[in-house]
């Protein structure tokens, strides 16, 4: 056994010496007419039914529309973010897209090392370890006007309360946030504002679970809102928020999903507020192909069809549909502007 091990060791050592010796011979390739786009998922993977999946949808659409080569790396664990981003960067990709704020630090690090490669990050920025935006000139942040999407589902909730189409019709609705941070509060701000616009007597209960992952925590907050008379609940708490949808289902009231279309999460889901990550990804790629890359932030809203809503497990009355189209048109035209802060 001993000499076998030694031989293995020898082969490995030789391989590593060879590898190091040859290191200098390769480098970044030169971009050709075919643009190379690399997408790195976070640990959620491509089948997360949310951001990662939608980013891939955007990439696939871009593949059919433009002359690009698109490749995806799924990160199995957090320690793969930097190697995966770096690998695309070393191979001379024109745009490397990181999905989600979990990759902020990794994008910040790698974008500093490869100033000639463009980076895009969904819902985040390239940051240092303390979370400060490094503002690298080769990084674009893809943000969303969550309040636009929140306003559309707020219209649904408010209209149903006003017209007696909800379950209890006490003019009470709820919103359960994960943590009181800007993206969460943007959603809730639009929701509350639009609901009040539809039904001036409405009472909007807002609660936070202080958690994004544990459904039990959100369920507790949701149940207390239901006990207080709420019969439409908007979840803005990621995985934790699934508990809101379940609590609504068990209490036979309505719920509203967030980020992606959550129609299948629970029968109680009547609508979802959408961040169209596919649109954002597609736009970032389009800008590269058209040589229109700009650093800083791109914001996606109803106006550029980067935010919106989906109707789920309920047939909406024609009147409500007309109201939704009207409000959406006004937000798109800029005559109605949902607030970013909770009114």
């Amino acid at each position: 056994m001993g000499h076998k091990r030694l031989r293995f060791l020898g082969v490995v050592a030789a391989a590593m010496v060879f590898a190091l010796a040859c290191g200098g011979t390769t480098g970044g390739g030169t971009p050709t007419k075919t643009y190379k786009i690399g997408l790195v998922t976070d640990v959620g993977g491509l089948n997360d039914k949310s951001f990662n999946h939608l980013a891939d949808v955007g990439l696939e659409k871009a593949k059919t529309d433009f002359k690009i080569q698109g490749d995806v790396k799924e990160s199995k664990s957090g320690d793969e973010y930097v190697p995966n981003l770096t690998d695309f960067a070393t191979k001379g990709y024109d745009l490397v897209i990181g999905v989600g704020f979990l990759m902020q630090e990794a994008v910040g690090t790698v974008s500093g090392q490869f100033p000639n490669v463009h980076f895009a990050i969904i819902d985040g920025a390239g940051t240092d370890a303390k979370g400060n935006d490094l503002k690298h000139s080769n990084v674009v942040s893809l943000f969303f006007k969550e309040q636009d999407a929140g306003a559309m589902v707020g219209v649904i909730a408010g209209w149903m309360e006003k017209n007696g189409k909800a379950k209890k019709n006490k003019h009470v609705i709820g919103a359960v946030g994960g943590v009181s941070i800007p993206p969460v509060n943007h959603y809730i701000a639009g929701y509350k504002w639009a609901a009040k616009m539809e039904d001036s007597s409405i009472d909007v209960k807002v609660g936070y679970s202080n958690n994004f992952t544990d459904p039990a925590k959100c369920k507790g907050v949701a149940q207390s809102q239901i006990n207080a008379g709420a019969d439409i609940l908007f979840q803005v708490a990621g995985g934790c928020g699934l508990g809101v949808l379940q609590a609504a289902g068990q209490a036979s009231v309505y719920s509203i999903g967030v980020d992606a279309d959550q129609k299948d999460a629970d029968p109680s889901v009547i609508a979802s507020a959408l961040k169209k990550v596919d649109v954002a990804t597609y736009t970032a790629i389009k800008n590269i192909v058209n040589n229109q890359f700009t650093s800083g932030a791109l914001t996606f809203s109803i106006a550029n069809e980067g935010a919106g809503y989906a109707v789920d497990n309920l047939d909406l009355p024609a009147e409500l549909k007309a109201e939704l189209d009207k409000i959406q048109g006004q937000i798109k035209a800029g005559t109605l502007i949902p607030p970013a802060d909770i009114p």
Binding site: L20, N84, I181
Partner: protein, 384 residues
């Protein structure tokens, strides 16, 4: 035997590839390129791949040792992951709290702090085993959960959280960081890339030293002899005047210190802060496979760590170059472990039908993984 298990796993992996319509040669050349930087076809930088492999293998060596040492005493330490997390928490807490201290003081503090925390974490299981006979497999698994949720608490809403809405800690002070082997400089070009992309750090030397210390402890000290004696037969060891309880507790304390060191080195050398990625860390579990594959010897553990580090680093390249899901790597790792556990290769070599022997004949230098099945579950009555 271990080489045979690896070959067996790769052979089955190739069949899986072929059956699912992929080309196994493409898959494995992608893995070799990603792991060792050789035979790369898509413009990968070989030195970068080697660097990534070393970064991944460094904590595997130290945690591998932390699993192998208790093996020798007939104890199955499933808790390396929890002990690693305890070490990274201690390293982070000290490195943030005393972030202004100079490196010669702070670096030893964070590393020793990590070792102490890991030792404490494993020591709980050791003391419970030695006193009330609580099975170390159960207690160490449970302590893994406690550690994972503790990390979650500390950085989400707890005292180490950077700020509202974040899931990471403050970065540790400059003085608490291990130097990278190449300068961390974005503008210096080495091997055709900015030097800072090569993340290999001096923690590699610490890990190799840990492996050497493990071998020395086991084979060159009287305590190492006691560990092996207890592993071979608790009754005989007791008869020879060895305190089984003391040996069990000390073994677990030392093993925990190794794991804790791995966690501290990971923070001090690579990450510099405790982040949400530690929720899904699997180093301490991979370490079990590393210890088994390495036959519980220091050299074997280093080689097995090299293999697993290369698989980790190679998986992503295989996925992008050959279009084969990097999940294949997890299949390969599981197959390696499976074939070691089932002792297929030995059975094939002997020309025997599988599973004919009731007890697998473990190689002589690897004592009771049998700790699982032996009388070690009963609290060892101390001879007084």
């Amino acid at each position: 035997m271990p080489l045979g298990s690896v070959l067996f796993a790769f052979a089955v992996g190739a069949i899986i590839c072929a059956v699912t319509g992929a080309n196994p040669i493409d898959a494995y050349s992608g893995l070799i390129c990603g792991g060792f930087g050789i035979a790369c076809t898509q413009g990968e930088n070989p030195a970068l791949q080697v660097s990534n492999t070393i970064v991944f293998l460094t904590p595997l060596i130290t945690t591998g040792v932390a699993v192998a040492l208790p093996f020798r005493a007939g104890l199955f330490n499933i808790g390396a992951e929890g002990q690693l997390l305890a070490g990274s928490v201690a390293c982070t807490a000290i490195g943030v709290k005393f972030g202004n201290l100079p490196s010669p003081i702070l670096l030893p503090m964070v590393l020793l702090g990590g070792m102490a925390a890991g030792a404490l974490w494993a020591g709980i299981a050791g003391v419970l085993k030695a006193t009330v006979g609580a099975h170390e497999v159960v207690t160490t698994i449970m302590l893994n959960y406690v550690a994972q949720w503790l990390v979650r608490f500390l950085i989400i809403g707890g005292p180490l959280q950077l700020g509202p809405g974040t899931s990471k800690s403050l970065p540790i002070g400059e003085g608490a960081r291990l130097a990278t082997i190449l300068p961390a400089d974005n503008s210096l070009i080495i091997f055709g890339l900015p030097a800072s992309v090569f993340r290999v750090h001096t923690g590699l030397l610490i890990a190799l030293a840990a492996a050497a210390a493990f071998a020395f402890l086991l084979w060159r000290t009287s305590f190492g002899y006691e560990i092996r004696a207890v592993g071979q037969s608790q009754k005989a060891a007791r008869y020879a005047g060895v305190s089984v309880r003391r040996t069990i507790i000390l073994t677990m304390l030392i093993a925990g210190a190794f794991s804790g060191l791995a966690g501290a080195v990971q923070i001090a050398g690579v990450d510099h802060n405790l982040t949400d990625k530690y929720f899904s860390d699997t180093t301490g579990f991979d370490a079990i496979a590393v210890a088994l594959l390495g036959l519980g010897s220091a050299v074997g553990i280093v080689l097995a760590s090299l293999l697993f580090g290369a698989l980790h680093s190679g998986g992503a390249i295989m996925q992008s170059d050959a279009g084969i899901s990097s999940n294949l790597v997890l299949v390969l790792q599981a197959l390696i472990l499976f074939s070691i556990a089932a002792n297929f290769v030995g059975a094939i070599r002997r020309g025997l039908p599988f599973g004919r022997k009731a007890t697998p004949d473990l190689p002589p230098e690897l004592p009771p993984a049998a700790g699982l099945m032996s009388d070690a579950t009963a609290p060892p009555p101390e001879s007084s």
